[in-house]
């Protein structure tokens, strides 16, 4: 029986993963090693009981008593904290979903690779902050990373049976987010609530705001480079308001292979779960006659400065991805907290990168996760400093 673990089981991706696991047989089809979550320990316990997990881990020490209580009598172990997450990742499993949001998701996924697992990678930050390290670790242990972002799953699927050397371009699409059609001069006044509505995808709040700013797409561009080894100048972004075409690969013979489908993360999750098979999945089928029209335009660099920042980050590489992501997380925290405005987020990230570029460390390749975490901490400190000084 296939051994599986889910990191970030109670988030949006984690819940969809749980849904698919249960539909595909639950505990009679999978031996669940570990499930991890955040503060929603009641839900984590429900999942752990349903899948008969060996262990359930909450990221927060103070949640451990509640988790223990919720698991009472089940025989399921309970644990808490970062070290417990790593310990859970160290328990061998054949398939592991890495769906913890943010930089916190990096370490458990990295550790799991040591066991030659198949890592379904939904955590965007892993490849952005530590792409070369992660890919090398996977290669070293004959582990496999499968992308779970819909765009990267789409690229992966479009490349099946193809030779990477024949690839000319890789295009990922972006809905354009909540403010796609807003007048530019209104963006500065956009509220958190306004930024938290996505035209097509049902996702968590942070990633929805990152869609509105296109920081999410910026991360995905960097991921595309790191995962597929595609040169930055071959990677394009197209605004596609319908979110039905997820990615397109252009080849040197003029042919283009595209991946389409309704915007439902369960497709990409189910694809990674069942790969190399395509299992029947409970997602709506795309009917193009009903859709009627698919529209595309180039992203406006003024509306979406995050995309140019991603280009800078790819040029520098090294620890720039870690700095970029950390500064973005700080700025996003500040926006959500009402401390800065929507368009200030990109300014904060840009200023952080500029300040770090003055030093020498930004372009250095990471040799360990510690390098990444140090840069992450430094970038957050700088970003906070910038925000404090500006008093935005």
């Amino acid at each position: 029986m296939r051994r599986i673990s889910v990191f970030g089981a109670t988030g949006s991706i984690g819940e969809s993963t749980f849904d698919l696991l249960m539909r595909q047989g639950g505990p009679s089809a999978y031996r669940t090693v570990a499930l991890t979550g955040g503060r929603n320990v009641a839900r984590l316990a429900v999942q752990a009981r349903a899948l008969r997990a060996e262990i359930a881990v909450t990221a927060h020490d103070e949640c451990l008593p509640l988790l223990r209580e919720a698991l009472a009598g089940s025989g399921i172990e309970a644990a808490a904290g970062p070290a417990a997450l790593i310990e859970a990742a160290d328990r061998p499993a054949d398939w592991i979903m890495s769906a913890i949001v943010g930089a916190a998701g990096l370490a458990p996924g990295f550790r799991a690779l040591r066991h030659g697992t198949t890592l379904a990678l939904a955590n965007k930050e892993s490849l952005v902050t530590a792409g070369p390290l992660l890919m090398a670790e996977a290669a070293r242990h004959d582990a496999r990373i499968l992308p779970v972002d819909s765009e990267h799953s789409a690229i992966f699927q479009s490349l099946l049976g193809e030779d990477l050397s024949a690839v000319e371009t890789v295009t990922i699409t972006a809905s354009g987010g909540a403010f796609r059609d807003w007048p530019l001069d209104r963006l500065a006044g956009a509220t958190v609530a306004q930024a938290s509505t996505h035209p097509n995808w049902a996702m968590g709040q942070r990633i929805t705001i990152d869609s509105a700013s296109m920081f999410n797409k910026a991360l995905e561009v960097i991921e595309t480079r790191e995962y597929f080894g595609i040169s930055p100048d071959q990677i394009r972004v197209l605004v596609h308001p319908e979110s039905l075409v997820h990615a397109l690969v252009g080849f040197r013979d003029g042919g283009m292979i595209a991946h389409m489908g309704m915007p439902d993360m369960r497709h990409a999750i189910g694809y990674a779960l069942n790969w190399p098979d395509r299992a029947r999945l409970p997602v709506a089928r795309l009917d193009l006659a009903t859709a009627g029209s698919l529209n595309f335009h180039n992203p406006d660099p003024v509306r979406y400065p995050a995309l140019d920042l991603a280009r800078q980050v790819m040029d520098i590489r090294g620890l720039a991805g870690a700095a970029f992501n950390a500064a973005k997380e700080s700025a996003l925290d500040a926006f959500v907290a009402g401390r800065i405005g929507f368009i200030a987020m990109a300014s904060v990230v840009e200023a952080t990168l500029t300040q770090l570029s003055a030093g020498s460390a930004l372009g250095n390749p990471a040799t360990s996760l510690d390098n990444v975490f140090q840069m992450d901490a430094e970038a957050r400190r700088i970003a906070e400093g910038i925000m404090a000084e500006r008093k935005v």
Copy 2:
């Protein structure tokens, strides 16, 4: 050096094949065995000299003297007539383009399979009239058939690395042809000149008229069933005015892989020529931001009765494809000659199938090409009779 032959070298597909062969090194890259053509023997001779062919064959006996003259001093053999075409197909080659238009293209391609060749199949009628025979012959001799129609090449490319058992739907697109936006009541009065203009593709006159009537798409639906073994109820047709998405394959996990590109037959030809590699081809790249919008709608069965006829043909199978194609060719001849109107073509084909259905032979599987040719002749005779009686 790779041995190649081109059947139908001076037609639209043949000229594009010649263009690619010359760009990819011409006689220094390929050893050309045979080139065949119709009445344009001057052009055939130019191609044969450029590629240093062993033999050039015209389909028409009366054209032989002119062909001989045009090849004088070149050392290239000249021959004419159906038997000479078969003899040319019997000369072993590694890659053969089958691009003779109409039922006449069937026999040479079929014969070439005997030598275990790779047959690049642009002749639509081969699979429509004799699909099971052709596929069995290819399997028997370990020959390979590669589709050259843009739609089937698109399906083929979309299926790379995929398991056919996971396929839920195959959709081919249609531009809708010259009369896509005409009021229905004007179709009866459509002229040959009006039917001979295609919105997107530069092709021969007959196939352009077949696009306006969607008989071309009807043939392609049948080809899709025969070549890929896809069940008829899984095959869809979508009107897509821009002709940029050529085919889409839907899988049971809700994912859809599509093939896109500018409408340029050199892509499909070049793909078949270089398969399994993708060579750099001189075709324009598709820029979706420039295209702006891709539109789709279901075909109107009243405007395009040929599509329902294709469903009937697939239900009957056996020799129905041969009868369908022959009746269609007769009706098309009559339309081009001004003997019947545009919408009468479908009526003639339908009446021919109805009359043949009353006998018992239509559903019989072909056991040899002779069965196919006999049904072809019978269907033409019946179609002519119907047209004579109606005096349309």
